[in-house]
Amino acid sequence: MMAPILEVEKLSLATRSKKKLVSNVSFTIGRGESMGLVGESGSGKSLTLRSIIGLLPPGIEQVSANIRCSGRCAMIFQDPIGALDPLCPVVGQLAEVVAYNQKVSRKASRKIAFELLDMLGLPASLKQKDRYPHQLSGGQCQRIVIAMALACKPDILLCDEPTTALDVTVQHQILEIITRLQKELGFAMVFVTHNLAIVSSMCSRLCVMKEGQIIERGDTLTLLQNPQNPYTQRLISSVLPVPDFERRPVL
């Protein structure tokens, strides 16, 4: 394994009233590696992700944590439309992020923003006429959000269920884009989701979380084929089989 780019050691989070939300979560990620973080809602996977980038909601504190991050983080959010300023045109927002992160002039930042638009397959008409987030589809907004994350030149991309709020067909496109960009740019990735199918195609390693703890971890395929923990087994068996494929031998 390559030198770790992100190390999370004994991360514990609790509310002010000392209710434990996440306890003793540790993992490391190497450069360019992608890791999935799966579990049911409320298992603390999003909180773990957010504490890496320092975005804990008010009222939640880090009880103990040792997060070593030797690179820049950027995050992709679950609700793409909610992650954009509703009253600011999208290319303007993108250019602003570019300007602050790459320390370039306003004009140059627009040029880089246009390049990012092309990279993410956004329509060229945005270059002539900027649009507001509500004028774009969810998939287009998510592309803008990804472009904004990439404008930070991240070494680690944190994905907080980036496809949950999207249509199934658009989900596929977004995942394709993320995979392609990871190949091109080589950032590491932490992918939070509860969709095991996505994880198996995106991530080489997997951590299963339940009630704020990592209960099982390992190589994605091995873990999915041979789950040890009863909770992981239940999680896998809860994926609805597609009826047509049922009769064929699995893998």
Partner: protein, 288 residues
Amino acid sequence: MKSIQLDTQLQENRKGKSLLKKVLNTPPLLWGGMMFALLIGVAVFAPVISPYQPSHQNLFAILQPPSTKHWLGTDQLGRDLFTRVIYAARTDLSIMVLAEVIPFCTGVFLGMLAGYYGKWIDTLITLITDTLIAFPFYLIVIIVAFASGAGQKGIYITFILVGWIVYARVIKGLSASFRKQEWIAAAQTLGIPGVKIILRHLLPNVLPQAVVVLMTDMVGLLVAIVTLGYLGIGIAPPTPDWGTMISDGQSFIATAWWLSAVPGCAVVYTGIALSLVGDGLADIWRRK
């Protein structure tokens, strides 16, 4: 790849309705706007509309009832009432607008600071607003007006001192709710400095609400100006002002009731116009 191209076509979105159409579809804004425009027009063109001077006295024609020569009659010094009412609109409206500028800016700014940063800034600003709000507004107005001497100065000073509270309270709540939204968090992770987030992203989002508050608050301010004039600590005569006119006409209420009623109606008219505008704007921004 094909599926990607499908999504890249921009959604056919409904053309943003033109501003005029929006206004026409909002009766309160339409009527309020017309009433207010009429008022402004009359105030601006006062010298053209009226053949008399506001302080020109004619002691041979005092306390005359409305006639073709004097549309609304004359007061106890023989001054044309209609002329005085529209000249008073100039005085009162200009003070009203000028006195709102500084409180509006400071209130919105402090409100955003408190709502965005929270913690001690919020505590401090809440402490100040809650303390000041505990005093009756008119008590502060009268004390400051006395201390600074009668005239417009008192109104400006009072309003700079206490006028921002309304905005600060409303905008603080609003900013705090925006603060919880994902896009502010996103902007922070993307390395945009806090001040920039406040000015470039938070401000445009809270501004509509602030303008609605501005409209209703201006009504309150106008009433305060008129009240001070009525009490004799506002605008000093001979400058025409609705408040002074109401109190001057009071002695003749039995014989020449219109002397007090007309400026009173002018205040009510302005109040209705501004309230309608505020209501209409709130409607438009809610619908969006």
